[in-house]
Structures are given as C-alpha cells and as structure tokens.
Subunit: 312 residues, 2 copies
C-alpha cells in the first residue's frame, strides 16, 4: 500500500494532505495562508508537511500542484502568484533532498484534469478533456490514461487557442484566444464594451461589473447580460469543437466558477458545438459534464500524478 503526500499551492492557501492508496479521504490534512511577503516560504511548507506526515506509514512520493507556469520535467516552479520568493524554484529537488523520496510537479489545470480522470467525473474514461472556465480558461488533457505534458511541459494551454485571429485581446496580450471570449474576464469585457457603446441594461455603466454580477442580472432578465453569457457559450463551443478535432476525447469535463452558470452558458455552447463539429461521430457517446472534486482537485491531482509516475 503506497501512501502519497500532496501539496496544493493555491492563490490564498497552501494545503497539504496524506493519502493512503485506494482511499479517497486523506488520513491527515492541513491548510495555512499563503503569505506573499514572508521569507522562508519553503520552511513554512516543511512545517506544514511535518504536521500532516503520517506517523505509521512509509510515504512513497510527494505530488505538488502549483498555479502559473511550471516545468513538470525538472520540477521547477517558474512563478507562483502569491509566493514571490519562489521564482525558478526547484521545489521537487528540494522536497526530495529533505524527505529522501521522489516528488512530482505540474500546474493546477493539468492536475485538476488528472484528478477528475482518476477520482472524479472522468473515472473509467481513457481520453479526457478538462476545461476550467473561471477568470481565465485552462485545460488538462488525458490521452490513453496518461497526462499530456508536452516536450517543455507546456501542453494543454487551451485557453490560449486562437479562434478569431483578429479578435479581442486576451489577458496574455494576444488577440482572439478562447479565454478572451469565454472566461469571466471575457464576459466582463463584452458587457463593458456594450455599456460604453450606450447599450441599455440593468447594469451600471460606470461600475466594474463582475461575471457573477452579470449572471445575477441575467437571472433578472437583463438582455445584455444574457447575451454576454450566450456569446461566451457560443465561442466555448467553437473552442471545444477544435479540441474534439484535435484530441477526440470520450468526455469533456468543465470546472471553474463560470462553468456553473448552467443553461445561461451551456445552451448556446451545445448549439455551437453541434454546428461546428465536422462529423457527428465526435459526439457519439461523448459525455459533457461538470467537475466533481471542487476545491480538492489540486490535492487529488497532485496525488494522482505521483501515483501515475510511480507506476511508469
């Protein structure tokens, strides 16, 4: 029985948990705040790990989930938002030095996909497309029961797929990415542009209207807010059609806050996806569903990564 220790480096919290093989619930877990300016963040992480380290079990490996760009092949965190000290930080080498066991790293979207494949909505599927739709759009892809990582470890950056080469700017600075249309930020941009152009709405033109506020206005029947979500859904369908043509998965799993908008987003998504797919066979038996694991997807994905790497 292999026991795995998982670390989830979140925006505001640093979490750790220990898992026994074949048990979904951790045998121990703890979370602390991510403190941006505190020095010795690695020392704090070690303390956290020692707090949750199993007393009576041999730990086989450590898995780490981190937001932002990482190199999974070398185990280096390039940047992580709230721990400024961790820039080009070789976290897996440092963990292995300290604990004497292997450690594995990947980014949060890839690992959320892996977690859903192993423990969540994607169980039993061999080819999984996971998309998180929240402030941005991120992807995770499982092909034949293996995580798609790529040569530089930068695969599955699916939010940055150009679907309208002269379209609105994405947060990354490039025009017409899926993320620019279908993320919370994209929905907010659409509304702000329309309000600026004098469009009538329940929403106030001088306020920063969040995707959540816009969804509330949509529920009250605000035509602009409804259109903003429908437009996001339409482009999401175009993007997912691209991903079906590229990866041909048997399941598409949506995580992230914006993906919880229900028919407001997904009616136009389904219409657009059906229109844009080049052959109906892509949709035969295709499951389109919501993520099951919520906040634990980072910990469970890091765990699944460690288990997968130990097997290979």
């Amino acid at each position: 029985m292999r026991t795995i220790v998982s670390i989830d480096i979140g925006g505001t919290r640093l979490r750790a948990a220990a898992y026994k093989q074949d048990q979904i619930e951790p045998i121990s877990q703890k979370r602390v705040e991510t403190k941006a300016k505190e020095p010795n963040a690695f020392g704090r992480l070690i303390n956290l790990l020692e707090d949750i380290w199993p007393k009576n079990e041999k730990v086989a490996a450590i898995g780490v989930s981190s937001p932002g760009p990482v190199d999974p092949h070398t185990g280096v965190i390039m940047i992580t938002p709230n721990i400024k000290e961790w820039r080009d930080f070789p976290i897996t080498a440092k963990l292995t030095d300290h604990f004497g066991i292997p450690a594995y790293l990947d980014n949060d979207a890839n690992l959320a996909g892996l977690a859903e494949w192993k423990f969540g909505a994607g169980r039993g599927h061999h080819n999984v497309l996971y998309l998180t739709v929240s402030t941005g759009v991120g992807g995770g892809v499982i092909i034949n029961d293996q995580l798609l990582q790529g040569h530089h470890g930068l695969a599955a950056e699916l939010g940055h797929t150009t679907i309208q080469s002269d379209g609105p700017l994405c947060g990354c600075g490039q025009p017409g990415h899926l993320e620019a249309f279908s993320s919370g930020t994209g929905i907010e941009r659409f509304v702000a542009e329309q309000l600026k152009a004098g469009r009538e709405s329940l929403l106030h033109p001088d306020k920063k209207n969040s995707a959540h506020v816009i969804s509330e206005a949509a529920k009250q029947g605000d035509a602009l807010s409804i259109e903003a979500y429908q437009t996001a859904g339409k482009y999401l369908g175009i993007g997912v059609a691209n991903f079906l043509h590229a990866f041909d998965p048997s399941i598409v799993i949506f995580g992230g806050g914006v993906s919880q908008s229900g028919p407001l987003l997904f009616d136009s998504f389904h219409t657009s996806l059906k229109e844009r797919v080049i052959h109906p066979r892509y949709l035969e038996g295709l499951v389109i569903t919501r993520a099951e694991l919520g906040d634990d997807s980072g910990l469970l994905g890091a765990r699944a990564l460690a288990e997968l790497k130990l097997q290979n």
Copy 2:
C-alpha cells in the same frame, strides 16, 4: 526478426510492400492502379499481397494506410475516394481472416506522421507534430512515442481547427478553418477573390489558377501571388501556435506539395508563429523541418503502426 506487410491505399495507386525489421528498404514491393469501378477490389488487393508476400519469412502483421475517414479501433474504412465498393469496409478483419495474422489501419496523415517519427525527419523525437499542406491540411501527432488516435479514432484532424470563426468556408463547409486559409485550395480561393475584385496580376481572372501556377507567378514577382502565399503562411503560423499550446512538441514536420514553397510560404509563417506563441519556451530547441519520406510515407507509416501495435 519481425516481418511486416504494408498496404497504402492511394488516390490513384494501391501499393504493397514487405519489410524486414530494422531494414528501411522493402524486401519486395509492387503497385497497381486503383480502379474505381472494378468489382472485387479486395480480390485484387489479395492478389497484390500474394505477389509481394515474403517466401522465406514469417509475416507478423499487416499495416494499412487509407485516405479519408477510417476507424482505426475497429479497422473499418468508412469511405475511400477511388474504391467506391469499400464503404464501411472492415478491411483489417478481412485481412486477418485471409492471412491469419493481425492487421492494423489508420488514415494517411496520421501514418505519415508516424512514419516520419519512426523512419524520417522525426527520428529520436518523442513528441512530434506532422502537418501535410497540400490540397487540404492534415495532421498527425505523436505523444510520448505513441500515435494520437482518440476515442473514436478521429483525433488530429488539425486542418479543421477554427482560427477565424467568421472566416472563409473550408471544403468541409465550416467557416474559418486553418485549411481554408493555408491549403492549396485556400491559396487559390484568395487569388480568385482578389482577381474578381479587380486586383491587377499576371494571373488571368477567368482561369482556374492552381496553387502551383500561383507559386510560379510569385517567382516572377506577381504581387498578388506573393501575397496569397504570405497570407497562407501567416495563418499557418497562427494554427501552429495553437498546436504548440495544445501539444507542445519538440519538432514540427511539414509534408505535402504546398509545404515545398520555401520562403514564399515560410517567411510569413515564422514571423506569425513567433508573434502568436504565448511564451518563448515553446520555441526553445523546437525543430521546424520538412518531411523526408515523400511517397513512401503511407507504406512506412502502416509498417510503423503494425510494429507499434505489436509492441504494445
């Protein structure tokens, strides 16, 4: 030593060859014309195979490359252009019935990619993106030394990636696919539209100007023809940036006639690719090159598929 028999179902020719393991040259090979209307095409194929079947070697498996839609998981050719009789045709089951050995099938673009990975420009790479740019645009993707086939066997249809959601129609009927911009057909469409709009050119507005004729006019300095190829290259760069973000390969290999246009196509391609990639790391060490295997890519790809499947 495993010996493999390969079949390449081309548009105009049916080819077969027998290969000894670790020898790139076939021990025997033959080609016959694909005759559209002749009944009993399978009988002709069997005759062809018996002609090239090795006398002193045990054959381990048969590999088959076919254009058009196939189901690699069931070994069924859905449609193949010049053999109308082969519609929903279970070719691998029939070959196994006849010869008593396993048979494996995939489409020509996937297998050209696999051939380049095993025997051609992609040797030694583990993550390969192959693109054929000719009348259409096709793709083949190798991930961690495995061919990407997908759940329905329909993965890597990369020509049908939407890069301009309201763009010109692709041959498949959908708007704004990479193929509509960067294939020979796309180049011809661009020129025809510009000529119709009264643009001056060496090319005759009432003629059907082929991509080849357009490239010849470009060599003579025709501004419209040069722009047509530059535009195709620009959009090809946008498409390949999408594929780097999705697959993160270590090599991009171009096959197909249009990809032999040199700087006329590739100067704007490289400029556009560099502009559109979201992080320079995708380009670190990335090899961008031309296919090496030419007409033999179907036979060699079918062989590589059989070898890969026997290993798994």
